[in-house]
């Protein structure tokens, strides 16, 4: 049976790889792969290679880094296990695809064989993750910077994690099914974990109170001493065994550390594979949830883990039957955002906090600046607001996707509506425009209140401050529309490249494609914003002598905003025309 399962897994993997290689004949995948490969080389691998030399020159520091990472991982593992005992799943579920369930569950296969199959499947992901992790974190890998041994060390850690979590789930399911003292068992387990955590904390306190010699010493000595101190070294023994191969400083040490680690894996494997828990129902539910998440991701929605069904919402405002139809799209897409992102209560709270902070921050900063004679927080807030605005303009359109990108699956329906293409596109862009503009306005308001809170700039009168903020606020919605036109234009011009709504998406090619889109988005932002800002600055510079900076900035906005609106209008007209001629069935052939 295991041979059949192995055959299925290996053949699937082989066909997957071949499919990915063959589709490189299509330019969109080839270019995407090339972009991703270039990024990975320059951003990761090259640094990784440089990292080996750094490790060789500073092995102790690398060892400390590895110890810190391992401690953090160990603590995380303990927290996850404690969480499982406190909030146990209703049913234990193994990770199987819907196809695997359809073929394997009715087949004459024992439950133990299914667990074997699951563990076998998990190994592929663990091996891949181990290699990637050793590449990304090779500074943490000691053993002479040997990547192979580093990957093996990570394989041990991840395998133990997988087995412990799976075993815990199955044990909890078994206890829930068979033991009347389920609650008692859970209480005992949580108490044991808490006692262990308390012992670790006590040992750390004891070390700090009795050590005394760490002050003024390099931090690396402190970590090493604490690791070797008693009773911590005994408390950490199970973790030291698991993390031993990763913490080894030479291939020989690695080999020595690997033996007990493998013994732990063997014990955990025996424990898990002998489980008698019923996992079928939980597995089916898990597979359905994963399929739904995948489908949501393909529709372009955020891959959030939604355990409960979405609830109906009353809508952002009352939609009257008469009026511009574009507003219907704004209403619909805002409603979708409410349902798919966060609850309305959270949005109201966030906006309330934002407005409250914005209104209160100005007077507070003024007082602080006057009191101290130096404005400390103002520049920080201005920089923060500026960065928020920049990120909103560049990355915002990639996040706020409630436009054509999420509605493309309904293109047939949309095209039957009695609307000109440009009006439909405008309607689709309104909701993300409203959201992004709201964020930009908050950033502008924050910056306007925080800049020069001490009032040292004589020319920045309250009137000028308001005029500058108003000028920027007027330009914000138009800039958002232009930025949102870019990804929607990519969608309509190169629909086969668009990851949303395509089952062929995914993998390194899509990563590369997204990189290319992000660069295009950045370039368009620069091409639009920089000339517009330069032109506005020129208008302000020329007019300020006559009417003052405040009025000059409003004048600049009066000139630049119509120009930007013209660009946006041309973009909308082009997109509308393209949408009217758009034929998805033809585009994806």
């Amino acid at each position: 049976m295991v041979r059949a399962l192995l055959y299925l897994r290996l053949q699937s993997l082989r066909n997957f790889v071949l499919h990915r290689i063959r589709r490189l004949r299509e330019p969109k995948y080839l270019i995407g792969t090339a972009a991703a490969a270039a990024y990975l080389y320059f951003a990761v691998l090259r640094r990784s290679l440089a990292g080996v030399k750094a490790v060789a020159s500073a092995p102790v520091a690398a060892g400390v880094g590895a110890a810190v990472v391992c401690t953090a991982l160990g603590a995380l593992g303990l927290v996850i296990v404690a969480y499982r005992w406190i909030f146990p799943p209703q049913k234990a579920g193994l990770r199987f695809s819907e196809a695997e369930i359809a073929f394997l569950f009715p087949a004459p296969v024992t439950r133990r064989a299914l667990i074997h199959y699951h563990l076998l499947s998990a190994q592929a992901a663990i091996l891949f993750t181990s290699v990637l992790t050793s590449l990304f974190l090779n500074r943490m890998t000691v053993a002479g910077g040997n990547r192979l041994l580093g990957a093996a060390g990570w394989w041990v850690i991840l395998s133990v994690f997988e087995l412990v979590l799976l075993g815990t789930n199955l044990l909890l399911a078994r206890l829930r099914e068979s033991s009347p003292r389920f609650l008692l068992w859970r209480a005992a387990a949580v108490a044991a974990i808490l006692a262990y955590a308390a012992a670790v904390a006590w040992s750390a306190g004891r070390f700090l109170s009795t050590g005394g010699h760490f002050l003024g010493e390099p931090g690396i000595d402190l970590v090493a001493q604490f690791g070797a101190s008693s009773p911590f070294r005994w408390l950490a023994l199970p973790f030291r065994v698991v993390f031993g191969p990763s913490l080894a400083s030479s291939p020989r040490d690695f080999a020595v550390a690997l033996v007990p680690a493998l013994a732990v894996i063997a014990l955990l494997y025996a424990w898990v594979s002998r489980s008698q828990a019923h996992f079928e129902e939980g597995t089916i539910a898990l597979a359905e949830r994963r399929a739904a998440l995948r489908a949501a991701a393909q529709r372009g929605e955020l891959p959030q883990v939604r355990r409960s069904k979405p609830k109906p919402s009353t809508g952002p405002f009352r939609l009257e039957p008469k009026g511009p139809p574009e507003i219907a799209f704004l209403w619909k897409n805002l409603l979708s955002m409410q349902g798919s992102l966060v609850s309305r209560r959270l949005v109201v709270i966030a906006i309330g906090i934002g407005i409250g902070l914005s209104l209160s921050i100005g007077p507070v900063l003024s007082w602080k600046a006057r009191a101290s004679g130096f404005d400390v927080y103002g520049p920080m807030i201005v920089v923060f607001c500026g960065m928020t605005a920049a990120y909103t303009l560049i990355l915002g359109p990639q996040i706020a996707r409630q436009d054509l990108r999420t509605d493309l699956a309904n293109a047939d329906l949309l095209k039957t509506y009695p609307m000109e293409g440009w009006r439909l596109v405008l309607g689709e862009l309104l909701a993300p425009t409203v959201v992004l503009t709201g964020v930009l306005w908050c950033a502008i308001l924050g910056a306007a209140l925080a800049v020069d809170a001490g009032g040292r700039l004589g020319w920045l009168t309250p009137g000028t401050r308001v005029a500058l903020a108003l000028s920027l606020a007027l330009a914000a919605p138009v800039l958002c529309v232009i930025q949102l036109i870019v990804p929607n234009a990519i969608l309509l011009l190169l629909p086969g490249w668009q990851p949303a709504g395509r089952s062929r998406g995914g993998g390194i090619e899509q990563f590369g494609q997204r990189l290319i889109f992000a660069v295009v988005q950045l370039l368009i932002a620069l091409l639009v914003v920089v000339p517009a800002a330069a032109f506005a600055a020129l208008v302000v510079f020329c007019a300020q002598w006559l009417v003052g900076i405040g009025t000059a900035s409003l004048l600049a906005a009066a000139v630049v905003v119509p120009l930007l609106s013209g660009i946006a209008a041309v973009g909308l007209w082009f997109l509308g025309h393209r949408f009217e001629r758009f034929d998805l069935s033809l585009e994806v052939r």
Binding site: P310, L335, L413, P418
Partner: protein, 243 residues
């Protein structure tokens, strides 16, 4: 009501529909029949203005679909084989949205009537995710009928419906036709066409093989035999294969 002249649709070098001409008058129900890949769905999508035709003319309620698409689309409704709904709009909100798009002033009363007729009133405030496939199909129909279209296109209208749903769908189509709508539907279910359609258009590889009333088409392929079934006619007309 629906006038089609020399309709042609090409996908690159592949011709899905070639030189198709026909007319559907008020009260008539035209059934599009043909083997897989015959061009039925492409034809329907061109007629509904979903995809642009390569050449030819389509007039819906007297409006040219190419030169005046907005006016033409006001008069039609398209019902796809797979119900496409917005995930986060309730049944009632779907109707409100469609009402705004088509400018239906009294949509609340109309919508209520439609929901009652389609037995969806109890589900008015739930999201599509909580509806069965049949109910979703009903919601699509309610949305399509809200603006009282004079022309209706159904693509495989019975897909996924239970026997009761099939009966209701057939009754609904026939009732709308009796009330003066021009209906075009495509289906592989020949017994449905025999029951519902007044006219049939048989397509093969994008071309019209035969068309007319059921009696006319039967006469063309019966070879003098009495009471030949539509299934037999279909097989004879298409040569019993897709190619």
């Amino acid at each position: 009501m629906i006038e089609v002249e020399a309709l042609t649709k090409r996908y690159g070098s592949f011709t899905a529909v070639q030189d198709l001409s026909f007319t559907v008058r008020p009260g008539e129900v035209l059934g599009l029949v043909g083997p897989n890949g015959a061009g039925k769905t492409s034809t329907l999508r061109c007629l509904a203005g979903i995809i642009p035709m390569t050449s030819g003319t389509v007039r819906v309620a007297g409006r040219d679909l190419a030169s005046d698409p907005v006016a033409a689309k006001r008069e039609l409704a398209f019902f796809p084989d797979e119900p496409r709904l917005f995930d986060y709009l309730t049944v009632r909100q779907h109707l409100a949205f469609v009402a705004r798009i088509y400018g239906v002033a009294d949509h609340e009363a109309l919508g209520r009537g439609l929901l009652e007729e389609l037995e969806l009133l109890e589900k008015a405030d739930v999201l599509p995710g909580e509806l069965s496939r049949g109910m979703k199909q009903k919601l699509v129909i309610a949305c399509g009928l809200l603006h009282s279209p004079r022309v209706m296109f159904f693509d495989e209208p019975l897909t996924g419906l239970d026997p009761l749903g099939i009966r209701r769908m057939k009754d609904s189509i026939m009732r709308r036709a009796r009330e003066g709508a021009a209906v075009v539907l495509s289906s592989h279910l020949l017994h449905l066409l025999e029951e519902v359609c007044t006219h049939v258009l048989i397509l093969k590889k994008g071309r019209k093989v035969s068309g007319g009333t059921l009696a006319e088409v039967a006469a063309q392929f019966s070879n003098g035999e009495p009471s030949v079934s539509l299934e037999e006619i279909f097989i004879r007309a298409t040569g019993g294969s897709e190619n």
